[in-house]
């Protein structure tokens, strides 16, 4: 899946987690803008992992602060 298709799929997956209806751009941060706690992060990561059939380890998650970085990482992880 290329970056555009990956981004589209992630936009779909993030919907139920974006409870405050924040307008999401590539610069949107998970901790800051979306104010997610660690449990929400875990559930969201699990949803992404299950959909794309990938692992995003904690080590990799530490490098992902905003939405654009997530799309990049998932695009790359699909190999």
């Amino acid at each position: 899946m290329d970056r555009a298709a990956t981004a589209e799929k992630i936009a779909e997956l993030i919907e139920p987690f974006n409870k405050k209806g924040v307008a999401i751009t590539e610069a949107t941060t998970f901790a800051g803008d979306l104010e997610w706690d660690s449990l929400t992060v875990m559930d969201f990561v699990a949803a992404i992992e299950d959909d794309f059939d990938i692992i995003i380890s904690m080590n990799q998650q530490a490098e992902i602060e905003n939405y654009g970085q997530l799309i990049d990482a998932v695009t790359k992880l699909q190999g």
Binding site: L39, M42, D43, A46, I55, S57, M58, N59
Partner: protein, 399 residues
Amino acid sequence: MTDLFNKFDPLIEQRRALLAGGVEDPFNLVMERVISPTVAVCNGRETILLGTYNYMGMTFDPDVIAAGKEALDDYGSGTTGSRVLNGTYAGHKACEEALKEFYGMDHAMVFSTGYQANLGIISTMAGKGDYIVLDIDSHASIWDGCKMGDAEVVPFKHNDIVAMEKRLKRIPEGAGKLVVLEGVYSMLGDIAPLKEMIRVAKENGAMVLVDEAHSMGFIGPNGRGVAEDQGCLEDVDFVIGTFSKSVGTVGGFCVSNHPKFEILRLVCRPYVFTASLPPSVVHTAATSIRKLMHGANKRAHLWENSKTLHKGLRDKGFTLGTDEPQSAIIAVIMPDLERGAAMWEALLKEGLYVNLARPPATPAGMTLLRCSLCAEHSADQVQTIIGMFERAGKAVGII
């Protein structure tokens, strides 16, 4: 200059607000005198202890105390050295022998704390390119062991066998895999479905480490823990445990049947670069572990206590962490931190000590009053405790 303490400001403010309300500081309690495993004088009041993890009440066992006193006379107050230099005494070996017999395993390694046992074993065994798959509700020492090592860390939802399996199957071919589980999870007192989880882990080529800190001495026919109780101890590659709960002193350990296990003594940094436990501690631990092998009656009484308290609190209208009592921990769920702290203080004034647990230590942002029972709590004490909870709960408006 940026004050490096600025990052703690939100916590400082939360604490200030809590204490400004007149609540006694739940994290600054002093035990002025300890009368028995279940009673102490704290903040000037005689208090029933219901938050000590002293499950088997070994802290005042006469044989255990005698062993410690004798070791102080015979070996001195401390070893002043690492296990791999001048810090291995007869008592450390005696302790490891006792552990091998207790678990029926080939190897045992004693650490200076339980925290260091997890830190050391996990960070040393899982290296660069390896994967650690662990329950999201794992203890801080497990997380810190992951953080200290170089492995890829992959958490899964608490006790979720399917989530664990999916992650194991996605790990690249040929990578080393370590699954880390706990027998009893200490926040809610619930146990893991170890038999199923270990079967899945093994099917997927993973080694398995189980932390049995909160089950040793109590759960399982011989007190070996939840894995023994579920009949899967032989499939566990590494059991981690502690002396600071049922054993009644301080220290940690790992037992294993792995043929190369002994090499860990040379490569495990939290083992090498720490002074070993004092002689009095290892002699009390060895004596206590041997006595725990024959603790069937105490185990039975502790189960009775756990069942009685669980039912009693539920009948009074409290919300508990588990539907049935699964361990010697009963977690009472509080509506929020403010009322949790008020309830904690009301109980202390009644003469009862429990643990106030709050995020980030707790799952799902919960505030808990965590009760850990002791085999030395009398049936009368348990009834007294239920009465104290009822009065405090009504005073604070929780029930």
